[in-house]
Symmetry: C2
Subunit: 317 residues, 2 copies
């Protein structure tokens, strides 16, 4: 199969490409390298099994140029920084909604039949029951990032209904792991690298979410795609439990060896406007395909902290 | 109150403005007059109670120029032609999604606190149980118009969650009535005006949806807004029953007096790709506010047919 991976030099994208190439696919990558990193995929470029188009999914011609001969698009490219929407309001619109329009429209014009899309648990908003099943409604996202993911889902769904596209929409839990380029564990390690004596935590630390290891995530994507074959397939992907931000801070402090670090909370029930204090995906539908995760939330956090300490280059004490 | 009505020279907008001015509001209208008609609002412009900005909601500066001193925005402007998305894929993106972004962003910059948004039953897609309650999920629209309405809901919801906007989102049934500028009854009368001997109906005529008279619709909007005061209020607005396209064709033929007209069906279970064959909104939540419609679907259709025959200028036989 010839796959196009948008955001393929990024965190989840590069892990997905490892699996795709491992199973024998040819991979085309489009990435603007704004948060992705060529080093994540260099060995695949060197082996000739992957090609990198240094382009931007917000530019329609760049997307058109990547579509020739593609059998399936894995659309992962997006602004990775959810908080940014509180300051700059058109980033998610452009890098989320408009980019997804570019993708599905270029697919239509090139007769590319299948897409897998990285959506997010944040489309459910903050009033959903926990764990939240795929059937929850109404979905009322509270972040601009969430709005762009929901808009992307709707665009894809309308291309399925109007133009016969086949789609897999995955609503991800918090995905963490090696090569992480953002997120709470990444931030904590950077803070401790700058100042090992204190760790500032946004909010009161009681925010509680479920975390999924990135290897589990990409394995889940490929398993679901080999198990389900409806025109439109929507699945939550997550783990079995949650962890609090307070617990993450403790694990990171412990793992870094910064035992004297004072954990300081900025207060309030959420990290920023648009942050969802508590989130946990219902994963019955995912489990029903025969797929299960290897790591629960706390194991994934510990595994990720160890890997990122290495990658970020913090000397463990 | 000083209200801004986008698409205020249009079908629903002009009826809403009648009520707003009737209750003493000052009204600013922004409309590009692409499907709206100044004659619908001319008397309010003449009386000085309404001001028309001949501008476009897809142009951010036009929207900014309309926001000064506004207390509440009624955002009704949109591409009214759902079928168009099957041929031109960026109309709903621009006139729906991007326009709604312009609205909420201009509201944020001008400290405008409240919005009412015309969404649609089509956000539910085609696999929803009937009647469909607001709590249905997942919402997977099959038309590009539906995708743009869902994206608009998400943008508004994220501005509520991130910037403290207050919002009323209304998912409309098929709204019909005087001054209609599009839709199945409008189309049928135009067809019979061109050729009174036959009436072509897209699909097999078994499509069945619920219809709401436009006066009921705007009354419902204002009633809900005076009854509910949460940060985000989401309501279906519809009537108690449905009518089939076949029944509408019969009523229009009967009402026009074109008794010899042969009704011809193009066949297939839907009018076009992205059309939803069966739709009926659950209206328990609407009814719980104490509001009820005056017309059921068939009454609204008959009432509308009589009015549009007059407006379109078909001589009744």
């Amino acid at each position: 199969m010839r796959a196009l991976v948008t955001g393929g030099a990024g965190f989840i994208g590069s892990h997905l490409i490892d699996r795709l190439i491992g199973r024998g696919d040819q991979v085309v990558i489009i990435d603007n390298l704004s948060s992705g990193n060529v080093s994540f995929i260099q060995h695949h470029l060197d082996s000739g099994k992957a090609t990198l188009i240094h382009g931007d999914v917000t530019v329609f011609d760049d997307v058109m140029g990547a579509m020739a001969g593609i059998d399936c698009v894995f659309h992962l490219a997006a602004n990775p920084d959810i908080r940014l929407g509180t300051r700059i309001t058109d980033t998610d619109l452009k890098q989320g909604t408009l980019a997804t329009y570019n993708i599905v429209e270029a697919m239509r014009r090139n007769d590319v039949p299948k897409i897998a899309f990285a959506s997010s648990s944040v489309v459910y908003g903050e009033d959903a029951p926990l764990p939240t099943p795929e059937t929850h409604g109404p979905c009322l996202p509270i972040s601009l990032y969430g709005a762009s993911k929901q808009a992307g889902e709707g665009l894809i769904s309308s291309w399925v209904g109007t133009f016969g596209l086949q789609a897999y929409i995955f609503r991800f839990a918090n995905i963490i792991g090696t090569r992480g380029t953002h997120g709470v564990i990444f931030d904590f390690i950077h803070k401790l690298k700058n100042d090992p004596s204190r760790l500032e935590v946004l909010g009161n630390g009681m925010q509680e979410k479920s975390y999924m290891e990135v290897g589990d995530c990409v394995e889940g994507i490929l398993h679901v795609m080999s198990s389900a074959d409806a025109p439109l397939n929507l699945y939550n992907l997550g783990s079995h439990d949650t962890a609090s931000v307070r617990r993450i801070a403790e694990i990171v402090v412990e793992t870094t060896g910064c035992h004297g670090a004072k954990i300081e909370y900025t207060g309030g029930d959420r990290g920023w406007a648009g942050d969802i204090p508590r989130a946990m995906l219902g994963i019955e539908k995912m489990l029903s395909t025969g797929f299960d995760v290897r790591y629960n939330s706390e194991e994934a956090i510990r595994h990720t902290a160890l890997a990122l300490i290495e990658e970020i280059g913090l000397d463990r004490r």
